[in-house]
């Protein structure tokens, strides 16, 4: 059996699955249940500084994007950071950590952007015996209007400054949680590293409005007839998160900085993708909120089976394995040629490939042959765009075939070259090297 345990910037965890800082980690009761179910760690729901607790709305805090069968595709929330008393939270964190010494307990913190505020809270958090802290620079609703959360995460200078304060006032590992509501994720990640961060975690949620009620014409979710943008998460955001994780992992300025991957992870396959693109741990929230804490058992089982199946002896061996396959467009091999192939034995004759290609792509699929309904790729038109593969309802019916070097591309009439050719060196590029 492969080993699923990890060490993440000095924090040990029996498996890479942590509950993200969110409602599931609000208090000892939930966290105890999570650890009983098998979660490797938790990031405790974000603490605020001492004082009167925050106030949440007592109406819809969540909204969902659902498929026709009510499968949850996307999820958003407008809940704030903890609305519990700081002292109660600190006491509970200490008790939970004592009870679950082998699990990772990380405490998320969000206090005003003043050195004194951080200097005050950090020793209190450290006293709980927790394993690390996560700086919430990501929350995109409510707290950002008060100069915290994503308001900090959107300004690299603030990230660098606050991270440096934290490194100054605590010995605990510092994880900086990044907001995706920016133009280029590499800049806040670089700022975190420059400030001394031990790791980054991403993505936090994305600004979102879930919809408009067609009867009342109010946005949803709404509280008393009005709503505000929330933070979007769940399966739909995974591709955005994967890209941002990969961007940081392959950026020379941040390469090697531990990453805790977050965003739409609901299965072992999702986790595998984040890890293969450079994440060392993964954080989950929506899947737990939909299915309950038990879901971690399926993730652990699946990832474990995968590692065994592929002959990995540890998660560390898997980490970053897909990163070399990520590059800039400029370095894609323009000499490669693929053609779609429709397996006639699997084809159910729905014609979706045909109409997609005919109306919106390259007119490279037939609809008839000898007067009969028949869908077949016209290689002389096919550019290998993959649209037909994506719209086909049958798994494995349409595939892309890579032409072998020397084979004639029937669209261009030219033989496929064995050489690689990047845009940087392409004859059509006026700025090519050596031009």
């Amino acid at each position: 059996m492969a080993r699923l345990d990890i060490e993440f910037c000095g924090i040990r965890s029996p498996n890479p699955f942590w509950l993200a800082s969110a409602p599931p980690t609000d208090k000892a009761y939930n966290v105890e249940r999570a650890f009983e179910a098998g979660w490797g760690g938790v990031v405790w729901k974000t603490l605020a500084e001492a004082g009167p607790p925050l106030v949440n709305v007592n109406g819809p805090r969540y909204g969902a994007l659902l498929a026709v069968d009510r499968t949850l595709i996307g999820f958003n929330n407008i809940e704030l950071i903890t609305d519990r008393d700081l002292e109660v939270n600190l006491k509970e964190i200490a008790a939970v950590k004592r009870h679950w010494a082998d699990r990772a307990v990380i405490v998320s913190i969000m206090v005003p952007c003043q050195e004194e505020s951080w200097k005050t809270i950090l020793p209190r958090v450290e006293d709980t015996g927790c394993d690390g802290i996560e700086l919430n620079f990501g929350c995109p609703h409510g707290m950002n209007e008060r100069g915290m959360g994503s308001a900090v995460g959107q300004v690299p200078e603030y990230i660098r400054m606050v991270t440096a304060w934290c490194k100054q006032y605590t010995r605990l590992p510092v994880i900086v949680k990044l907001t995706p509501n920016i133009t280029d994720i590499r800049f806040p990640a670089r700022a975190a590293k420059e400030g001394g961060a031990d790791a980054v975690s991403l993505i936090n949620t994305i600004n979102s409005i879930m919809g408009v009620d067609p009867d009342t014409l109010t946005m949803s979710p709404a509280v008393g007839g009005q709503g505000t943008h929330g933070g979007y998460c769940g399966p739909a955001v995974k591709p955005i998160a994967l890209n941002m994780v990969a961007e940081i992992a392959r950026d020379p300025q941040t390469a090697g900085l531990p990453i805790s991957g977050i965003g739409g992870i609901g299965s072992w396959r999702d986790a595998l993708e984040f890890i293969a693109l450079g994440a060392a741990s993964v954080q989950v929230c929506t899947a737990a909120m939909v299915f309950g804490f038990k879901i971690v058992q399926e993730m652990v089982s699946g990832l474990d089976a995968y590692l065994d199946d592929k002959g990995f002896s540890s998660l560390a061996e898997l980490r970053g394995r897909a990163l070399p396959s990520v590059t800039d467009w400029s370095f894609l091999d323009l000499n490669r040629v693929s053609k779609a192939v429709i397996d006639q034995d699997k084809c159910i004759q729905c014609g979706r490939c045909y109409i997609a290609c005919e109306d919106t792509a390259h007119q490279a699929i037939t609809s008839m042959r000898n007067g009969r309904r028949h869908f077949e790729v016209k290689e002389e038109e096919c550019v290998g765009c993959n649209l037909c593969v994506n719209v086909c309802p049958v798994t494995g019916c349409i595939t892309l075939r890579d032409l072998a070097p020397g084979e004639i591309d029937r669209r261009t009439g030219r033989a496929v070259s064995a050489e690689r050719l990047h845009w940087t060196a392409h004859p059509n590029n006026p700025l090519r090297k050596g031009a």
């Binding site: 026709v68 159910i348 609809s367 309802p393």
Partner: protein
Amino acid sequence: MSEQRGPDIRPGRLTVEDYAAHFADHVPPLTHPQAVLEASRCLYCFDAPCVTACPTRIDVPSFIKRIAEDNLRGAAAAILEANPLGGFCARDCPTEVLCEAICVRNVQQGRPVAIGRLQRFAVDRLMASADNRIFERAPASGRRVAAIGAGPAGLACAHALARAGHEVTLYDAKPKAGGLNEYGVAAYKTAGGYAQREVEWLLSLGGISLQCGWTLASPEQFENLRRGYDAVFLGLGLAETHELGVPGERLAGVEDAVEFISTLRQSADPGTVPVGRRVLVIGGGMTAIDAAVQSKLLGAESVDIVYRRGPHQMRASPREQDLARTRGVRILHWLAPVEVIGDGGGVCAVRFARQRLAAGRLEPAGEECTLEADMVLKAIGQRLGNPLLKQCGLALRNGRIAVDEAGRTNVSGVWAGGDCIAEGQDLTVDAVAHGLRAARDIDLRLRSARARAEE
């Protein structure tokens, strides 16, 4: 207990609760969540095969997509635009040999999208809505059309012509419109009086005046119609039932299955309809199935369908045959009636000769058997049987009215469709398609005549 004379045929074999359960919808309507989930299985195929399999070419992918998107009014509009009797067809069509037979989900998942049930869901929702009108009539053309026969063909034709702005008089010999939808289809397929609700909805368009109790009785009357109207559409039903042609056919207890079904459909309480203790239904089509199943539902102890050929020659679809079997009906093949045997009071048995195929023709195999019966229902087909049509100058083919590809008869200004024409398939949806085809052609003709008149 006194000895009963004659065959055991009587009403009231069951409790009130049994009757209510037996004559409710045999396919329950989909709930809204079921409909949305089922709709999501539709792949929205290009040039969808299901559409080509529908005689009325209903745009199935569109109406199903609209159900999935909660646009139920739009879904109903897509259906009724192509087939104004879409609600009835959704209940009655043998979808398993039409649209659903060719659904691509059969190949992938072994189960087609439930097109018929979805169609019923959409139309039912429209019919039940506060404002169920979706069509408006074109400006009045000043043209008048007579439609003879208010069955599916006549209703569809009248509705389409009324939409086009023409005034239609719809004549029917029966007390109610609907034709076989009202008098001939099994009650459990059109529970809740759907056939009449549909007629009311069709007539609510306006421009159609219904005259029931009107029979085409003479060639003069036919000529008067031709003179009095700008066009005439014949949507007649098949008036006569084939006879067995064997001794004993007139014995008490031997009835037409069509009459039996009609009596049941028109009775307010199925408990008042007499049925035999042991019923034999002779025939192999939909009428045989409908008569047999309903005999069973009325409380008959044993019901056998007896057909002279094999299962593959039966006109009843495999699904209909299965329905009969699951309702406890036995289907016997390769038996042709030789004699209906009486015991003085009425029928008591039927003697059959086993049949075999020899060079494609049926012939007696030399073996006989006798089945006891209290009631014998004849369902061996119907024929037009109206000698008047020939006297009116209408050309016939195979005993039915000959029409061209637009539904025109050989008599100028007269169109025909439904069971009375040579190509009739005896399906409601075919009759609707015929009616609509003729309406299109009539409308074209009337418009061009008007254009000529205005020149």
